[in-house]
């Protein structure tokens, strides 16, 4: 593999990885605080893609811009979902949570199939097929815009958790649930906010993905699997881990595609997963449980 080929595919992998990272961030936030694994994560991502697709069809809103209203709508959905359906399952055994969210995933996929059909859909943006030449490297504009948008959303999320009272309270609940309750924090509300923030991440990521790739309801399970791979490699519950995992998986898959075979890229990401689980079960950025 020549250096320009390596550099180009590596850069593309990093750019795609940023969007992957944002999507996985939602899963990590939800698990980190609520301790519920969202098995309908990919389904929500695809639902967000269709939301952006509809906004583009009706009002010609660029999906990258649409990530703001879609994220807000998904925050509300997440908040409502946690308060009504998920909350009663928070203290129940994990297998019951699993059944609940897998059931929700099935409902979402089949609803999307009924409404949008099985055909792949896409949006044609004026810059969809444009590229920049940087020396010998050819970089897609849409991928750069998507990565920048993902970076902005991620930075806003980090700022929210670092600099706002609500963010600090959520982090406190994630670190020590009993302590948070003892000092008077409304844990149920924080759970709902966290679920909302998690789904807002998925909403933003899904909307951005609409600009990058085609959508079909059947994509959803592969997105769920992808998000799981990323957060396990990065560290379940770690925000930095989700982002780092996204970048690592994005870059590794891209380089493996070029260096070995495109068919092998899933093998590479799952190979990484196995290695991380074997050598560092808490993930690259995760904390070992004491």
């Amino acid at each position: 593999m020549t250096f320009p080929l390596f550099a180009e595919v590596f850069l593309k992998g990093i750019l795609t990885g940023l969007v992957y990272g944002l999507m996985a961030l939602g899963l990590s936030v939800i698990f980190g605080v609520v301790r519920v694994v969202n098995f309908a994560h990919g389904e929500f991502a695809v639902l967000a893609m269709y939301a952006a697709f509809v906004l583009f069809g009706l009002y010609k809103v660029d999906p990258i811009i649409a990530s703001v209203p879609v994220a807000f709508a998904f925050f509300l959905i997440g908040y409502g979902l946690q308060r009504t359906i998920v909350q009663p399952f928070v203290t129940r055994p994990q297998h019951e949570q699993f059944i609940l969210l897998v059931g929700l995933a099935l409902v979402l996929v089949n609803a999307m199939l009924m409404v949008f059909g099985p055909e792949s859909r896409q949006v044609d943006l004026p810059y969809s097929l444009d590229t920049w030449m940087i020396g010998p490297l050819m970089i897609d504009k849409v991928r750069v815009y998507g990565a920048l948008a993902a970076l902005v959303v991620t930075a806003a999320l980090f700022a929210f958790f670092r600099f706002t009272l609500t963010g600090t309270a959520i982090r406190a609940a994630a670190d020590n649930l009993v302590g948070a309750a003892v000092v008077g924090l409304d844990v149920k509300k924080l759970y709902a906010l966290s679920f909302g923030v998690g789904l807002a991440c998925v909403g933003a990521a899904g909307s951005i993905m609409t600009a990058l790739t085609d959508m079909t309801p059947m994509l959803a399970p592969s997105y769920t699997l992808l998000a799981f791979t990323i957060v396990i490699v990065g560290g379940l519950g770690s925000m930095a881990g989700a982002l780092g995992g996204g970048l690592l998986i994005g870059a590794a898959e891209a380089v493996a595609s070029a260096a070995i075979s495109p068919s092998m890229k899933s093998m590479v990401s799952f190979g990484l997963l196995v290695i991380v689980l074997a050598l560092r079960p808490q993930g690259l950025f995760g904390k070992a449980e004491s």
Binding site: T2, S120, Q122, S128, L212, S222, K265
Partner: protein, 411 residues
């Protein structure tokens, strides 16, 4: 209470009536057999729904054409749900409910499941589309296949690439084979690896690249293609990945002299035309195709328009054409045999020789394995978002466009 006694006169009358009935029975049987009940089994839902629906539209258009040709059939439409188990169960059910022949089933796995039932029940199976070679290599007596195997598709497809490029004076020295890593794509790769070295092509196959058709995009694959920069790209795709591939080729301005599919779907799906618009043009696919100069094709096209006013025959003609021909094989055999029992009907199907038909190639006839060796491939090119037969000249409706025009400036 009444008592009925049987006297000699009554007994004679009854005996006479029974005799008359017995004598009349064959004619009653013959009257029942004036119409052949065929179960058309297709994957109209599930993974292969799009192709299954395309075949189904052909089946809907067929009865009118067959009736005009003097054939009398009754079709029962069955959805196999892209599931071999469903296909097997539905085949049993269809036979129990009176189907005397089965046509289907677009995909090899489901076709094999139906073939097993047909073999047990001695009901003929006329295959419309299924390329796996092993279907006709298991010694089944109750099936015929009027469709090429994967190997035949590749052989004919690659030979035609050479013929078309030579006819247009295009200098091709290097080629890359890019294929989906699904069942069909992998089988085509196997056939390509085996057959290409034996064909003595004037161009060199420098690399074969497989990809996951479910990938988000094919950006890295196209970057790799750009770094190799072949004269010719050979692809095996389905519609979804053909769309992604085209987008990334346009984005990265990858412009080989020609892009050929040596026998695969994807490039002539309505979904592909809708998604990439003018960039769908000038792709080639070398396949058996509905012969635009055949009168029977023209009749099928007219019936297709009436039966499916929202669909284009040009786009469906591969699936619809082969489905029609599978029905034609059954209907023609039934007419010659004059009977619907399995062994008699199958014997007649094996003796099929239909000179005038829809798809390109020689007469429909079957060898000892049940394959039709006379199926001929042609080069079809997308022109104005319509599949257009461009080679060879005897069936072409226009000249091939080569080298492929640039992506830039297309409308």
């Amino acid at each position: 209470m009444t008592h009925t006694t049987i006297d000699r006169r009554r007994l004679m009358t009854g005996a006479a009536a029974l005799s008359a009935g017995a004598i009349a029975a064959p004619s009653i049987v013959r009257a029942q057999a004036k119409k052949l009940k065929i179960a058309v089994m297709l994957p109209r839902s599930g993974f292969f729904a799009q192709a299954g629906q395309s075949c189904h539209r052909g089946a809907l258009a067929s009865p009118k054409v067959l009736a005009d040709l003097g054939y009398n059939v009754e079709l029962v439409h069955i959805d196999t749900e892209t599931n071999a188990d469903v296909a097997r169960t539905q085949a049993e059910k269809a036979i129990n409910e009176g189907a005397r022949c089965i046509v289907g089933a677009f995909e090899s796995g489901q076709t094999l499941a139906i073939a097993q039932v047909c073999e047990q029940r001695q009901v003929p199976l006329s295959i419309n589309v299924a390329a796996a070679p092993n279907i006709t290599e298991q010694g089944y007596k109750y099936l015929v296949r009027n469709f090429p195997t994967g190997g035949q598709l590749v052989t004919n497809g690659v030979k035609l690439i050479d013929a078309v490029t030579k006819a247009k004076g295009l200098d091709v020295k290097t080629a890359v084979f890019l294929h989906a890593n699904d069942t069909f794509g992998t089988a085509q790769r196997g056939a390509m690896d085996k057959i290409f070295p034996t064909l003595n092509m004037p161009f060199k196959l420098v690399e074969s690249i497989s990809y996951d058709p479910k990938a988000q995009d094919l950006s890295v694959e196209v970057t790799k293609l750009r770094s190799i920069n072949p004269d010719l790209l050979m692809i095996v795709t389905r519609a979804g990945d053909a769309i992604k591939l085209t987008r990334d080729m346009v984005r990265q301005k990858f412009e080989p002299k020609a892009i050929f599919s040596p026998g695969s779907p994807g490039l002539y799906d309505e979904e592909f035309y809708q998604a990439v618009g003018p960039y769908a043009d000038f792709f080639f696919y070398n396949l058996p195709w509905a012969n635009p100069k055949s009168q029977m094709t023209q009749a099928l096209e007219a019936s297709f328009k009436a039966a499916n006013p929202n669909n284009r025959f040009a786009v469906d003609s591969f699936n619809a054409g082969f489905t029609f021909e599978a029905l034609l094989v059954a209907a023609d055999a039934f007419k010659r045999a004059g009977a619907e029992d399995g062994p008699t009907l199958m014997k007649a199907i094996r003796e099929t020789s239909i000179k005038d038909h829809v798809m390109t190639g020689g007469p429909i006839a079957f060898n000892e394995k049940g394959d039709n060796p006379n199926i001929g491939a042609v080069s079809v090119q997308n022109i104005n978002r319509t599949p257009t037969v461009v080679f060879p000249k005897d069936v072409a409706v226009t000249d091939p466009v080569l080298p492929m025009p640039s992506w830039q400036g297309r409308k």
